[in-house]
Symmetry: C2
Subunit: 367 residues, 2 copies
DNA sequence: CTGTTAGCGCGTTCAT
DNA sequence: ATGAACGCGCTAACAG
């Protein structure tokens, strides 16, 4: 009983290059050459082959092609979450650039867990991807130093590469946070609290460092790192902060999630912004400008981060070399001044930074 | 000059199953069987093979595996944008379920363009994916009826399948919009405007239909479909709406993007919500509850939509059948009552619907 | 329990 | 300009 599972009149088996060749009365190689354009084919036979291809609705099998050739025309993308708008936008950029290069993207999420990330990376390797873009989970990304990864191109995103031979694209976290904190200081605030997520994240550390820079430079006493991991916790934390001995008069949120927690807390505690407490944060988001008051934030070039990472990866793939020193690109951020800091702009004022490209150092962590 | 491009001491060539077999002194099949567990291998030889695998750091080539076997263990996911939080969350769900099933996900974006979607789908087919999940762009998804797609499992998401043989997962758009509009009517509003994006989107049409249901049922005159495609345009549109002859006293936003446009307009025009104008919309989002006033919305089970679609796909793949009638799952939505409609709840009140599973009809568009 | 043979669909190599 | 053989790495089918 042949083809018992196939309901239609479909051949049951996919049509192959041999089928096309037979119908056109030529050898497989003529078909192959015509498709890849690797050699000349006479006009006449070309036409015959083209007709055969259309008649049989032939589709080349990319799997077989990949197995035979060196490139699989596929890259991997591993990121913590897809529902985070920052990561999702990076993913969109990567996907777009990949399509432009004729590449497919295998995507997967790590949930910020190193073990998951490592397993996913290995899985991708077994699929013979030509390169991978990773937003590495904190700690233990040392697995990338393993010899399995010596034959694959790797670019990291948002966070630096664990091995100096890889490229990475980050934003100027420290400078941006410094500028944000500076702006609050210029409004006359003496005590500013820095509120962040999980301290082990690279971006949190870098931004806290920038905040400290500003405070120290201006002769203020930097506050401790205030960690908030949920809406409820943040309400309590902010409350005790404000009823403590030296209450802050301004808060700096390390990213958009903490900003949301702060907004919730500020609502629950019925605090006037910026009257009772001023607000600024890192990472712009869609409705930051329609909130009352509109939010002053440090804006990252989100799409460009993903785009740049993808471009770096395809450059490497094209060159086919595995240099021992990678490139670290630091993208500039903008301070978008709106009203939550105490300013009264009509729209918003934007202050820009500039791009820096530095050769990857063994360890140039901003700590 | 061998391996001129490889800088390290890496073998240059990937180690293959034959290498392992040779080192362990067995045939390739023994290695294959051990890895797939398809047949018993004696403890002794198993150990020898395991050691050889570790020594050589052998990684099976999934590409070759896919070429030989029927399944590629890969599915495709095609969606309009990745930076839309709704789509991104669906993608996250799909990716998660796929991982649970040992599958990889090839992802790509269509930019809501049929031609792009079609090209991407064909590209995926050439990569011999086992199934695909699509959020189809409006119009012309008829290409899925082509015979190339008769040998692949397809599930659509957020929008119904163009061919009744495919499965699809949508939410109760019409019922949700009806409930949202009804709630505004219960607040005593006589004239309510419906504001949406591109009218050709399935969800926009279904939600507009629900809005009409409510208006007609309650003896109100339904307004025309108000289309808004940018912040600026929305300001103008809302302004002329409110200065017209019969100005609405409430607005219903068809999705989170239009809601953002409306919020912007309401800010620019300095309108009090819900005093001068009441607001409600379709699709909940992260900070809808920390806005002032908090937003009354119809909430979709976003993650579940993606999860359900992926589960349907894997069910199909597991059964290996191509039934002529697909299943349409309609997921329930919730009305989340907050303050922008005129209510004064302390937190928020939630009204739930229930899931419906119906056999796919040839045409049961909700129009 | 284990090995051998024969492809999966394609492209490289060498021949014509 | 075109074709025949071989092999990429793996597994299904059949031995033993």
């Amino acid at each position: 009983m042949p083809n018992s599972k196939r309901s239609s009149k479909d051949a049951g088996r996919n049509t192959t290059m041999a089928d096309v060749a037979k119908l056109a009365g030529v050898g497989k190689m003529t078909v192959s050459r015509l498709l890849s354009g690797s050699a000349k084919v006479s006009q006449e036979t070309a036409d015959r082959v083209q007709r055969a291809i259309r008649m049989l609705n032939y589709q080349p099998n990319e799997l077989a092609r990949s197995l035979r050739s060196v490139h699989s025309k596929t890259i991997a993308l591993i990121l913590p979450y897809l529902y985070d708008p920052f990561f999702a936008t990076c993913a969109h950029a990567v996907s777009t650039v990949a399509t432009q290069h004729g590449y497919s993207v295998l995507i997967t999420t790590s949930d910020e867990k190193t073990e998951v990330e490592q397993m996913q990376a290995s899985s991708m390797l077994r699929r013979r991807i030509d390169g991978m873009i990773i937003i590495p989970a904190p700690h233990g990304d040392g697995y990338l130093r393993g010899s399995e990864f010596s034959g694959v191109h790797v670019v990291t995103l948002d966070r630096p590469a664990p091995d100096s031979r890889f490229d990475s694209v980050v934003v100027n976290n420290r400078g941006g946070a410094r500028a944000g904190a500076m702006h609050l200081i210029e409004h006359g605030h003496e005590r500013i609290a820095f509120v962040g997520l999980n301290k082990s994240l690279y971006t949190m550390q870098a931004r806290y460092a920038g905040y400290r820079d500003a405070m120290v430079n201006e002769g203020r006493q930097p506050g401790a790192y205030v960690q908030c991991t949920s809406e409820e916790e943040t309400v309590t934390t902010v409350h005790s902060l404000l009823t403590g001995s030296k209450p802050p008069t301004a808060l700096f949120a390390a990213n958009n999630l903490t900003m949301r927690y702060l907004l919730h807390a500020v609502n629950v505690l019925r605090l006037d912004v910026p009257g009772q407490i001023a607000l600024a944060g890192f990472d712009d988001f869609d409705i930051a400008d329609v909130l009352q008051p509109s939010l002053t934030v440090v804006r990252q070039p989100v799409y460009q981060v993903g785009e740049m990472a993808a471009n770096l990866l395809f450059q490497r793939i094209a060159r086919g070399e595995y240099p021992s020193k990678g490139t670290r690109v630091v993208l500039p951020v903008e301070l978008v001044i709106r009203r939550s800091c105490g300013c009264h702009p009509h729209g918003s004022t934007i202050l820009r930074g500039k791009t820096q490209t530095v050769e990857q150092q063994v360890e140039d962590q901003e700590e």
